[in-house]
């Protein structure tokens, strides 16, 4: 369906339940929140299915939008969700009856009765923006979650998925709402604990394979010493991908004594992250993959470096 067809389709329906994906990010929450508010502006009943995985970062945007447990929807819409495997636990009952999926992932599995897919959009928020524009005026309350959706999925306009259209939509949204505090909170704030964790990771990083591979570690001892929360160590694996001259960033995080989570980021054509992690019982994409293995930091580091060299030799 085109965004215009979706708008017509939505206008004909009511009693909406909007589904977000597991480990919710800014795009799924922001897109669902914006659509929910737009539907309410049109006089319709609309809620988000409670997503218990939501973090403090995105919770404010869904405030007042969660459905009561006994809510009985007539129309079920999933947002930013490529596959049924990404459904949250409490959405189990809706898996076979999603009326519409709105998405931007090329890997969309077409599990819904209707699908609106725009794979060239940087964020699902761009698709939702178009849909809402065909239905009702965009208010400040709609613009804010849309901006969160779009800006988070393109790394605040830094990632390669950013298009001229992404910027034009951002411009429109900024006419309606002040995003300075959002930008500061989402992209330019780090807790002192997180900054110090990063510092230690950098000081202890090691370079391998003619300085093309960098390894960073987060031992349990460091986490305990810093008294770090989950939020303090979220997304820490992106740090290794920054190191100039390298095309393969490996982060080893000790989950518990003797169990290490490997996160691998490849920023060039040389290393296929997914192929490396497949050798260690994990998986993922070409650019980002992971695996969880048993062993000491030293053992796992040796194993992952060997896996990298095997893949790049081939």
């Amino acid at each position: 369906m085109t965004t215009k067809e979706v708008a017509v389709w939505l206008l004909e329906r009511d009693k909406f339940l909007l589904l977000t994906h597991v480990r919710p990010d800014g795009d799924t929450i922001g897109s669902a929140a914006a659509l929910c508010r737009a539907l309410r502006d049109l006089g319709k009943e609309a809620y988000l299915l409670k997503n218990h995985g939501i973090t403090a970062t995105y919770a404010p945007y869904a405030e007042g939008l969660w459905a009561a447990e006994d809510y009985v929807p007539a129309t079920v819409v999933s947002v930013d969700t490529a596959a049924l495997s990404l459904f949250i636990d409490n959405a189990e009952q809706y898996k076979s009856r999603v009326d519409l999926a709105i998405d931007h992932h090329g890997s969309q599995e077409f599990f819904a009765n209707q699908t609106c897919l725009e794979a060239e959009s940087a964020a699902c928020g761009e698709v939702v923006y178009d849909i809402i524009r065909h239905m009702t005026p965009i208010t400040a309350e709609i613009a804010l979650p849309l901006y969160v959706a779009i800006s988070t999925d393109c790394g605040c306009f830094q990632y390669g998925n950013t298009t001229p259209r992404t910027h034009r939509i951002a411009a429109e949204l900024m006419e309606l709402v002040d995003v300075r505090d959002v930008n500061k909170a989402l992209f330019r704030t780090k807790s002192p604990v997180r900054l110090k964790m990063e510092s230690r990771m950098v000081e202890e990083m090691t370079l391998h394979d003619d300085n093309r591979v960098v390894v960073m570690s987060i031992p349990l001892a460091l986490r305990r010493e810093m008294n770090a929360t989950e939020a303090d160590i979220e997304e820490l694996s992106s740090l290794a991908a920054l190191v100039e001259g390298t095309d393969c960033g490996i982060t080893l995080r000790e989950l518990r004594e003797g169990v290490i989570k490997i996160s691998l980021r490849s920023t060039g054509p040389r290393v296929d992250a997914s192929a490396v992690c497949a050798q260690l019982g994990g998986g993922g994409h070409r650019g980002a993959a992971g695996a969880t293995v048993e062993g000491t930091m030293a053992e796992v580091k040796a194993a992952v470096l060997e896996a990298v060299s095997k893949v790049t030799e081939a």
Copy 2:
């Protein structure tokens, strides 16, 4: 002068020399390079005065544009330069004969015969974009340095100076040139030395004024120990502005024995960075300002903290 008046003025003249500011950033180099290329497209002679402080980060954008030492200009234009004190050493002879200053700093000192100032622009690149649009088509060769100018001065659309217009211009430029490699190089790559400099700055940072003010230092000794180049330490002052809970980030960089460059970033309404730096003989914007003063690190730190407390008391 308005940008349209500047366009008419430029079209009437020839033999241009474009001046960039000391410790050149992306905005001054990108703006000058774009304007230089546009003037050349119009069949005019145009060069940038050699800026010996240019780093490897921005050097590619000025390649082929530097004036020969014996070049005799008829028209001298400064770009992104608020004051004569920011002139490079080899521009001494032009201080009293700048024909036009193109700038976006509220602290512009009107040292030129003519001034085109748009203080609400996020970057001087936005002003130059408007000027060029009144003169000649924007080519890919012009779009690239303009994108560098604009994106670097607004932290890739993250800073509070970003406006809807900033995004709209970015959209126009992205229609003309692929900026993905530029974004990766400018915003998602750090040298190992730079990462280690940042680590040390974080480990030695101090908090003041109920943890609302953070001070980071770059002593000469650290720079020497790390063997850091100019590129390794440019824009390091944005680090202090990241610290959660603070609204004023101060970076003290020892330029040479007994001379400290203060960079101040204010992320809230409480501290006017420009007012703080004005007390120390410097200037800038409300959100970002600087000053260069004599003294030891300890003396300058005390002086800037006192200046902050004076401004916030008032």
